[in-house]
Amino acid sequence: MDPHYQHLYNILAHSQGYIFPNEIDLQWGILIVVYPFITGLVAGAFILASLERVFKVKILKPTYQIALLTALSFLLVATMPLISHLSQPQRAYEIMITPHSSSAMAIFGFVYLWYLMVVLLLEIWFDYRHSMVVWSNEKTGVMKWVYKILTLGVSDISPRTLKWDRKLGYIITVVGIPSAFILHGYVGFIFGSIKANPWWSTPLMPIIFLFSAMVSGISMVMLIYMIISYFRKKTIELNVLDSIGKFLFFVLILDFTLEGLDQIQRIYEAEESFEIIKLLVSSKLYLTLFVSQGLIGTIIPLITLAFLQFYKHQIKLKKTMYFIIGILVLIGVYSMRWNVVIGGQLFSKSFSGFTSFKVGLIGLDGTLMAAFWLLLPFGILAFLLWLLPPWKMVEEDSEE
């Protein structure tokens, strides 16, 4: 028998109650869990970088370029899980050529391109142009030409031009903040606008996605900063961690409040889907929602972060705690994506039963593929850090 059919027969045997016959086949698998997780990291990392630049949080300076390059690394991969989950990936370009104006998904390509080309690449370019010009003069051989090409031939490094670089970079950052908000708020809207699915359909969805994105991006940049410092044998500066930690604490509170509000509203209104959703969260999603997302990803980090605001001793312990919090928060946000994407498909739209989900290891939509798309950005980041090392950048004399 066809393995796909065999898989569906297994699922059918594990379904509970009544589900519409077409619902046995769960449509969006692990790749669609990975996709909002990755775009969330992009938006979050960028917002952290913008914080340094626009709001002049000087203490975060060491993380600024790291955050930008992290955002770029993940953004470059963001479309891949989407494209590889399509049944007709060779037609993916149609979404750009003939977008359907009423479709939330159709706008993705444009939001993505705007963010990549106008915001991230330009900002990084303005940021690095001075250094790239200097590097292209210092280096020899291939690398000389690589940097030369990257400057796009703009080799003027007079103070006046550099001032313009900074000014334009600043403007792009200012434009970039709402862009980052739109990028991820929009991902939330893809789910939040599906009225057929009561687990998804809430106007809070874009905002919840946005705040969880910030939470995950901040944690990821914090972790990457610690890992880079470790490999470069540099001290991880505690005031940087404290500052990120404080920011993370406030955003996590907001995120937790919003998600809490969403659930309270759901429980209090108790619409027709209430019974099935109650069953869903108390059985199928119990571990990933209450334990993984709630306890591990939110409550424990919140308490620890609050504690770290006051705790001033044992610097090494504090750093370790920040590292662990970073990982826990990422686990929590990944679980949140899982709970939304998979959770929303586990119950039948008849509100009378459940299908089950079993992720395969291999194949285009298997765990290995998802792991590959999650790990690839780190490879890209390593390359970018080698190509554009933030620690070797030319120091500006007249910092604004």
């Binding site: 059919y5 569906l8 016959p21 077409n22 037609r91 979404i95 003939t98 009423s102 159709a106």
Partner: protein, 255 residues
């Protein structure tokens, strides 16, 4: 001084006129591209605007409709792909509801609830509701699913990218991904037959005449007459999908 005043008021006028024009243009654009509000309306007055009636009181749960649909439309036999299926509802004396649809009802039904526990039992055939405000059409990112001029929701198989957003958006569970063609698939109201003035396969074979299709704009059609004489209801009316599949004697347990 007077000149200055005129200048200011002229500037004000131009400003507000400009704003008004801008808002009007933006509104027109939004309206024409249906970005925010989504609905299809009949365009060609000479063409029918199809609606469907299913009379639950007449359905005997024989499953002929589901069987004939699979044969007519090249739908794989496996019990995970249906353009058309029948559900059996059994409301028990304790108020709980037992719903089944083994193999979409194709092989018929066996009542698994003991007679003494049954409060009432009935069959509900399901198929695409051919909504006028179809959530599935609204969300398709490339416009591969569309309304025919007769109001039948169709899919362009050569165009669908297989993103499955439409499957998620259909509140009735009427869509699936065709396992061989790898694109979205659903009931077409046997559009290929309609075009030859033939009834859809499911209606052709229904032994009790529980299914009916017709032109909603023709006030003398059997369909409109039926709608006039019976109290009908659409599924999930709260979702405002503009469903054009009307059920007679629909019980409140059905979703």
């Amino acid at each position: 001084m007077g000149n200055e005043k005129i200048k200011t008021s002229r500037r004000k006028f131009l400003k507000s006129a400009g704003t008004l024009a801008g808002v009007t243009i933006a509104f027109q654009w939004l309206k024409s591209s249906q970005v925010l509000l989504f609905a299809t309306e009949p365009k060609d007055e000479n063409l029918p605007w199809y609606g469907i009636v299913i009379d639950i009181e007449k359905c005997i749960g024989c499953g002929s409709c589901a069987r004939s649909c699979k044969e007519e439309n090249d739908v794989p036999e496996e019990p995970f792909f249906f353009r058309n299926w029948v559900e059996q509802y059994t409301v028990k004396n304790d108020g709980s509801v037992d719903i089944v649809s083994p193999n979409g009802g194709i092989d018929g039904f066996v009542q698994r609830v003991p007679d003494e526990d049954i409060f009432k039992s009935f069959f509900v055939p399901k198929m695409c509701n051919h909504c006028a405000k179809s959530p599935c059409i609204q969300v398709c990112p490339v416009g591969a699913t569309y309304d025919s001029p007769e109001g039948v929701v169709l899919i362009d198989e050569k165009y669908c990218i297989g993103c499955r957003y439409c499957v998620q958006a259909c509140p009735y569970g009427c869509r699936f991904i065709h396992p061989v063609k790898k694109v979205a698939n659903k009931c077409t109201l046997c559009y290929h037959r309609l075009k030859k003035n033939l009834a859809p396969a499911c209606m052709e074979v229904c032994p009790t005449g529980a299914r009916m299709y017709g032109n909603l704009r023709d006030k003398n059609s059997d369909l409109v007459k039926f709608l006039k004489e019976h109290t009908t209801q659409v599924l999930r009316p709260n979702l405002n999908t503009g469903a054009k599949l009307y059920y007679n004697a629909l019980s409140s347990e059905v979703r």
